[in-house]
């Protein structure tokens, strides 16, 4: 069970994402933005950071990196893909997920431990959660406000594609307090807070984030 972790110029959280994969019992494989070859990995993580310096729009340049053409094609054929923070922004720019992430309401960069409510445990990345479960994982972003049109929002709500919502005060102005969503097939998930920073009580506020990574590994064992 090999999970690829992509590094773009400006990626920050690839190391933690790889560590989370290993903690969950998988093998992490480093993928480079300039290389189209996914070396037959079973799943891909687009980690957080500031790919290409967030130039133009967050994720807008990364979306056209050589590695993304393979990931977009793979995702359309069922490859599990998790985008965290900047990775979520890249998935939206790639149109693998609907909507867009815009500047936080109030313009503040937030860095805090955030409570979330899990709303979906059918996606490939959330099977190990219970619906209604409350988790605490770090949130750190300046452009995390999820925006989409009314029709898309209704689809996401009606089809159960909202993975998690912020509990308490909506930290960034996201529509319907959305923290994460999935595509219709459930193999592509984007989440703004950082599960990979909450896998070990030594380094995180909880170990709640680990279930994202064990979920996808379990899927691959069963497959």
């Amino acid at each position: 069970m090999r999970v690829g972790v992509v590094t773009f110029p400006g990626t920050l959280d690839d190391f933690d994402a790889a560590r989370a994969v290993r903690f969950a019992g998988g093998e992490s494989v480093a993928l480079w933005h300039g290389d189209e070859d996914l070396v037959k990995v079973d799943a891909v993580i687009l980690p957080g950071g500031f790919s290409y310096g967030d130039y133009l729009r967050c994720g807008a340049i990364a979306r056209f990196a050589p590695v993304m053409s393979s990931i977009i094609e793979g995702a359309k054929n069922g490859l599990p893909v998790l985008g965290i923070c900047n990775g979520f922004q890249i998935l939206c720019e790639s149109h693998l997920l609907p909507g867009a992430l815009t500047r936080n309401k109030g313009l503040h960069f937030y860095c805090k431990d955030q409570e979330l409510e899990i709303l979906n445990n059918t996606s490939l990345w959330t099977k190990d959660f219970k619906v209604g479960e409350k988790i605490v994982i770090p949130l750190k972003n300046g452009e995390g406000s999820f925006q989409c049109d009314d029709k898309t929002l209704a689809e996401l709500e009606d089809e159960g594609r909202i993975i998690a919502r912020y509990v308490g005060e909506n930290p960034n102005g996201s529509r319907n307090a959305i923290a994460g969503i999935s595509n219709a097939a459930g193999n592509v998930v984007g989440i703004m807070p950082h599960p990979e920073h909450a896998i070990d009580s030594l380094t995180g506020p909880s170990t709640d984030g680990l279930a994202f990574f064990t979920s996808v590994l379990k899927k691959m064992v069963n497959a």
């Binding site: 939206c92 815009t102 500047r103 936080n104």
Partner: protein
């Protein structure tokens, strides 16, 4: 030289916290302006040494749709300055 200018703006229904921050700064700085709305956008310039052909204009439009603007949240306008 011919300049092709692409103006990109957030759609009206998308919250623009930068525009709001500017609106809030104006009275603080002593300006008595009271616009109904203040929005911030981006401007891109392509400079050509010739009047762009129809094919080039079509490519610029495609570049604006796919790269310069995100049609999910933004609109764009293309104009020329001679």
């Amino acid at each position: 030289m011919v300049k092709v200018i692409i103006d990109v703006m957030l759609k009206a229904e998308i919250l623009d916290p930068q525009g709001q921050a500017i609106a809030n700064a104006l009275p603080r700085m002593g300006f008595s302006l009271s616009p109904v709305s203040t929005r911030q956008g981006k401007r891109f310039e392509f400079t050509f040494d010739h009047a762009p052909t129809e094919v080039e204009i079509a490519e610029i439009k495609k570049a604006a749709e796919t790269l310069l603007a995100n049609p999910v949240i933004e609109t764009f306008e293309i104009r020329m300055e001679h």
